[in-house]
């Protein structure tokens, strides 16, 4: 009888501990991605999400330009959303050297671009690279760029524009 109780107790303990471990793993996985809500682009327009994770040259700026005009600065651990016309777009960042990324914006779709800081001779160099939503979601602590760091043009959506776009897409659903 005592043997039976010990076996039953051990089994119950192992079941509870495995449930606990599973719950912990699920919680960990949940925290591994950000849950930033992204608006859907207006009909016929395309959308690009630019982001930059933390580390690798915190003091180095990553100012995204298109056709010589600033779209927005992208500080450490920041992101911004840009609405634009479909077609080929070339974005540039510049420090010691210039880096250009060409992407093709598709209507009604969202694309992702990451700014990374690579090694430079004197200072780190910003580098734009094509990315995926998965790359974006893995940056857990991203915050939107402050409005004053955005360019003077219509490029990057201001925080209030993003909020309005999110409300509009919630209504249309």
């Amino acid at each position: 009888m005592t043997k039976f109780m010990i076996i039953a107790l051990a089994t119950a303990l192992s079941v509870f501990s495995s449930i606990g471990a599973e719950a912990q793993t699920a919680k960990k996985n949940e925290l591994k991605v950000n849950t930033i809500q992204l608006p859907t682009p207006p009909k016929g327009k395309g959308q690009i999400v630019f982001f930059r994770g933390s580390g690798g040259g915190v003091i180095v700026g990553c100012s995204v330009n298109e056709n010589g005009q600033k779209v927005s600065s992208l500080g450490d651990n920041k992101y911004f959303v840009m609405i634009t016309d479909p077609g080929r777009h070339e974005f540039a960042v510049k420090s010691e050297a210039k880096d250009v990324l060409a992407i093709e914006v598709e209507p009604d779709e969202t694309q992702f671009v990451e700014c990374r800081i690579k090694m430079g001779i004197v200072i780190g160099r910003p580098d734009l690279a094509p990315a995926t939503e998965e790359n974006f979601r893995k940056k857990r602590t991203l915050k939107m760029v402050d409005a004053e760091d955005m360019g003077p043009g219509l490029g990057a959506l201001r925080p209030e524009d993003v909020q309005a776009a999110l409300s509009a897409s919630a209504i249309s659903r």
Binding site: L101, I103, E104, K118, M119
Partner: protein
């Protein structure tokens, strides 16, 4: 070459037999059916037998040549092939094996710590009497970064950090990609 298998019981929505052909009628039909006037509406008005492949139809493609951030250049063209037939109600409208073309939108070799980059786009599939324009191809490749390693090496030796290269990205021939048709296409029945 495009071949179409005609089968019994093809829905009337796919096979159209009305006969008349003015632009205003195309617009009227388009309005009545709540679709934009396009090649399908025009074909229906003309009474042609065939099939409409709607815009944004998913297609599965494969590249026919290898591409690499080491050797590819922005603007290069490459071959694509349709690997899975597109069917409408059991009828093959775009057969497997259709060939077409894609374009390297952006290519950059790997650099100090950062991986190579390749942005590829599918442009079109060739039909006997025209093209199926494509969009939204999903092969977007980026080589593995070595940024952290480069910064660590740089902390020991500044020049050494510049020598740490990211990985190139290589897309072999036969790499599978998904894309969508960019606009509706009318495929005549034979």
């Amino acid at each position: 070459m495009l071949t179409l298998r005609l089968m019994k019981g093809i829905p009337l929505g796919l096979l159209c037999i009305s006969v008349s052909s003015s632009a205003s009628e195309v617009d009227q039909i388009a309005q009545a059916t709540n679709v934009e006037a396009g090649p399908c509406a025009a074909a229906k008005v003309e009474g042609r037998l065939g099939y409409c492949v709607p815009a944004l139809t998913a297609v599965v493609l494969a590249t026919t040549s290898s591409l690499s951030s080491r050797t590819s250049r922005t603007g290069d063209r490459f071959g694509i092939v349709l690997t899975k037939a597109v069917e409408a109600n059991g009828v093959v409208v775009l057969p497997q094996g259709l060939t077409g073309e894609g374009e390297v939108v952006h290519a950059k070799a790997s650099g100090a710590g950062v991986g190579g980059e390749l942005v590829l786009a599918a442009r079109h599939l060739d039909l006997q009497n025209g093209r199926v324009k494509l969009r939204s191809m999903k092969i977007l490749a980026r080589g593995k970064d070595q940024i952290d390693t480069a910064f660590v090496v740089a902390a020991i030796s500044p020049i050494g950090g510049l020598l740490v290269r990211g990985k190139h990205i290589d897309t072999p021939a036969g790499a599978i990609a998904e894309a969508k048709t960019a606009e509706e296409v009318w495929v005549d029945a034979k």
